[in-house]
Symmetry: C2
Subunit: 422 residues, 2 copies
C-alpha cells in the first residue's frame, strides 16, 4: 500500500521495459530471436548490482503474478493461432513427425537422467524428459515467417507438427505435473493422472473446438431469421471480456485439477480460434500479451544463477542435454518425415529443434514445485540452468540451420530477415 | 510462489471479470454509465461473503498493483485523447468555464470541511476540495458521444473545458499531495510545492508537447532526404514499448517528486498524443487499459464499507458534499459560459457536473496517505465513502440532465444511446 510501494513498482517496470527494448534492438541487429535477448536481460539483472538497485527482492509476489499472466496470455495467443481444424488438415505426415519427435526426446531425456542421477530421481527425470518434448510453435513459426517461406510444403508440415507436438507436450506436462503433485509413482495413480489429464484436454477440445462452434453457429443462424443483427449485437458481450473470462476460467480450472495453468490458457485460446469471426479478440489480446509476456522471459532469466555454472557437473549436464535435445528431435522428426525425401526431412528435422518457451515453462514449473517426499524443489537450480541453456541454444541454432537446409533444397537465396522487423 | 498462489490469483481474476461483465450488461440495459456498475461490484464484493470466498485478503499487494496500473493506463489514454494543441484551439470560453468550475468547488468544498471539522483538519479539507475539482473528461465525452452531439458548440466547449479543468485538477492534486507529504502548511513550503508541481507539469508539457514534436519533425524531414524510410523504420522502436517506457518513466518520476503517479501518466499520454502519426500506440494501449482499468474501479468500490454509512454523520456529509459539488460546478461553469446565452450555459454547467474517476483517484490517494502529524490516513473511511457517493451520484445525474437541457435548446428528440453500444 501507499505511494512508496507503487513508486518502486513503477520504477522497476520502467527499468525492465527499457532493458528489454535495448536487448531487442541488439537482437534484431544481430538477427537472433528476441526471446534470447529477453532471457539475457533477466540473467544480467539477477547476476549484477541491478537486482539490488531496483530493489527487486521487495516485491517478488507482484512480479510472480506478472510473470504468470505473461505466460498465460502468451499461450492463449499461441492457442488462438492453432484452431483445431488446422490440426486435422495437416494430415498423416505432420502427425508422424510430431509423435516421433515427442517420444524420442522424452525417452532419451528421461533415460539419461535416470542413468546419471540414479533411479530414485524419477520426478526430476520426468521433468527433464518433458522439457525436451515440446517444439516452440512461436519461435518456429516466426523464423519461417521471417524467411517468407510460409507456403513451402516443409513449412506447413513443420507448423502442423509443432502444433500437434505442442498439444502432446501439454499432455506430457499435465501427466508429469499430476504425478509430481501426487508424489507417487504407483502405476495405477500414474494411469489415473494420465487419464484425467488426457480427458480434461480432450473434453475441452471436444466442447470448445467441436461442439460449441456448431451450437453457436446453429443458434446464430436461427436467431438471424428472428431478430435484426444490429439489435442483437448491442446486448452481446465484447470479444475481449469474453476472451478474458474463458482464459481465466480454463486456466484456473486446470490449475485446480493439478495441471499447469497454461494448459487451460492454451486450450482456451484454441477454442477461441474457432470463433474468430464472431468474437475477433486477437487484436485486443495481442497488445496485452505484448506488454506482459516479456516479464515471463525476463523472470526465466532471473532464476538463472551464473554461479551454478561454475560447478563442473552443471556445465557437462547442460552440454549433454543440449546435444541430446538436438539429436533426438532431428532424428525423431526426420524419421517421421522420411516419406517426403531426405532433403525435406532434414529441413523438417531442423525446423523442429527449437524448444523455446514450453521447455522453459516446464523447467520453471519444476523449479517451483516441491518434491512431496524430500520437500525440496523437484528441479534443482543447477539442472534448471542446464534446461534454460538447452532452450536458449536450440533456439539460437534453428534459424541458421533452417536457412542452410532450405537453401540447399531450394537452391536459391533465402535470407533471414530479422524478427520484429515487419 | 508456487501453483497454489497463482491458482488463487487466476480464480480471483476470473470472478472479478465475470462480475464486472454482468454489471456492465445491467448498466447498458438501464442506460447508466458502466463505471457505476464496476464500482458497485467492488462494494458488493467487500460487503458480502464473496470477499472471504475468493480469499481477497491474501494478496492485496498484487491487486494494489493491478489497481494502480489500471489507473495509470486510464490516465495515459485520457491524455492521449487530449493533445495540447486541442487545448489551445478551444479558446477563451472553455478557459473561463474551466477556471470558474475549478475555483468555486474547491473553495466551497474546502470551506465546508473547515467549518464542519474545525481548522486543524486542513489536509482533509484540502483533499475534499481537490476531489470536488475535476470534471471527468472520460464520462462527459462518452455521454456526448453516445448522444451523437459531438459537433454542437456546447459540446466542444464542454470537452475543451473538461480538458483544461483536468490539467488544473492535476495541478491542484499535485499541490495538495505535495503539502500532505511535506506535512506542513507553512506558506513558504506551500508556495515551493505549488511551484514545483506547476513547474513539473509545465516543463513536461513544454518538452513533450511543444519542443519534442518540433525537433522530431525537423529531424524526420532531414533524415527522409538521406535514407529510405523503410530502412529507417526497421531499426526503430515499436509504438507500444515506447509508450510504455514514457508512461512508466514519467509516472514513476512524478511519484518520486511526491506528486501522484497518475499526473505523470496523464502528461505522458498528452505528449504522446502529439506523435500519433509517427507512433500510433492507441490501438495497443487501449486493450491494456480495457483489461486493467476495471480493477481500479472495482477496488475503489472495495474500499467502501457500507457499515460506515450507518453513521448518521457520514450520510449527512455525503449528502451535503454531493449537493455542493453539483451546485458549485453548475454555477461556476455556467458563469464562465454566460456569454453563450442562458440555455447554452445551462447545458455546459450540467455537462461539467460528473466527477467520475479523478475525484475517486483523489479520494483513494487521500485514503492511502498518512497524516505526518497524527499518523492516521488523511481521509477517514467515512469521508472516503462520502466522496465516492458524490462521484457516483454526479456521474449518474449528468446523462439525464444533459439529455434534458440539450432537448430544451435544440427542441428535437435526442435520445441517449447506452454506452458501450457502438
Amino acid at each position: 500500500m501507499g505511494e512508496d510501494f507503487i513508486q518502486t513498482v513503477l520504477f522497476q517496470l520502467f527499468v525492465i521495459i527499457v532493458l528489454v527494448e535495448v536487448a531487442r534492438m541488439i537482437c534484431n541487429k544481430a538477427k537472433i530471436p528476441t526471446v534470447i535477448g529477453e532471457i539475457l536481460v533477466g540473467i544480467i539483472i539477477a547476476n549484477t548490482l541491478l537486482y539490488e538497485f531496483i530493489n527487486l527482492g521487495s516485491d517478488r509476489e507482484v512480479f510472480e503474478v506478472l510473470k504468470e499472466l505473461g505466460v498465460v496470455f502468451l499461450l492463449f495467443t499461441v492457442g488462438l493461432e492453432t484452431p483445431f481444424s488446422s490440426i486435422r488438415k495437416v494430415g498423416k505426415t505432420a502427425m508422424f513427425v510430431a509423435v516421433f519427435g515427442v517420444i524420442l526426446p522424452f525417452i532419451v531425456g528421461y533415460a539419461f537422467m535416470i542413468l546419471t542421477l540414479g533411479p530414485e530421481k524419477q520426478l526430476e527425470a520426468l521433468f527433464v524428459g518433458a522439457a525436451m518434448v515440446a517444439t516452440s510453435v512461436g519461435i518456429t513459426a516466426r523464423v519461417i515467417k521471417d524467411m517468407n517461406l510460409m507456403q513451402a510444403v516443409e513449412s506447413r508440415v513443420i507448423i502442423g507438427a509443432a502444433v500437434i507436438d505442442d498439444v502432446l507436450g501439454m499432455i506430457v506436462l499435465a501427466v508429469v505435473v499430476g504425478i509430481a503433485s501426487g508424489g507417487s509413482l504407483d502405476i495405477i495413480q500414474v494411469a489415473a493422472v494420465s487419464i484425467q489429464a488426457v480427458l480434461f484436454v480432450l473434453a475441452i477440445i471436444f466442447i470448445g473446438s467441436l461442439l460449441l462452434p456448431k451450437v453457436v453457429k446453429q443458434r446464430d443462424e436461427k436467431k438471424a431469421k428472428e431478430v435484426c443483427t444490429a439489435d442483437r449485437k448491442r446486448k452481446g458481450i465484447g470479444p475481449l471480456p469474453l476472451a478474458l473470462i474463458v482464459c481465466f476460467a480454463l486456466s484456473s480450472m486446470s490449475a485446480f485439477l493439478d495441471l499447469a495453468a497454461i494448459i487451460g490458457a492454451f486450450l482456451a485460446g484454441m477454442a477461441f480460434g474457432e470463433f474468430k469471426d464472431k468474437w475477433p479478440c486477437e487484436e485486443k489480446i495481442e497488445p496485452i500479451a505484448e506488454f506482459l509476456t516479456p516479464f515471463f522471459f525476463v523472470f526465466v532469466g532471473i532464476e538463472v544463477s551464473l554461479a551454478a555454472f561454475g560447478e563442473f557437473d552443471v556445465l557437462i549436464i547442460a552440454a549433454i542435454i543440449t546435444v541430446l535435445a538436438i539429436i533426438t528431435k532431428f532424428v525423431g522428426c526426420g524419421l517421421g518425415a522420411k516419406s517426403l525425401g531426405g532433403k525435406s526431412a532434414a529441413i523438417i528435422g531442423v525446423g523442429m529443434i527449437p524448444r523455446g518457451e514450453v521447455g522453459l515453462i516446464v523447467a520453471s514449473i519444476g523449479l517451483g514445485m516441491k518434491d512431496p517426499v524430500t520437500g525440496l524443489g523437484i528441479i534443482e537450480p543447477g539442472l534448471y540452468n542446464a534446461i534454460v541453456f538447452m532452450s536458449l541454444f536450440t533456439t539460437l541454432l534453428a534459424p541458421p540451420l533452417l536457412t542452410y537446409t532450405f537453401r540447399r533444397k531450394l537452391g536459391k537465396k533465402c535470407e533471414l530477415v530479422p524478427p520484429d522487423a515487419e
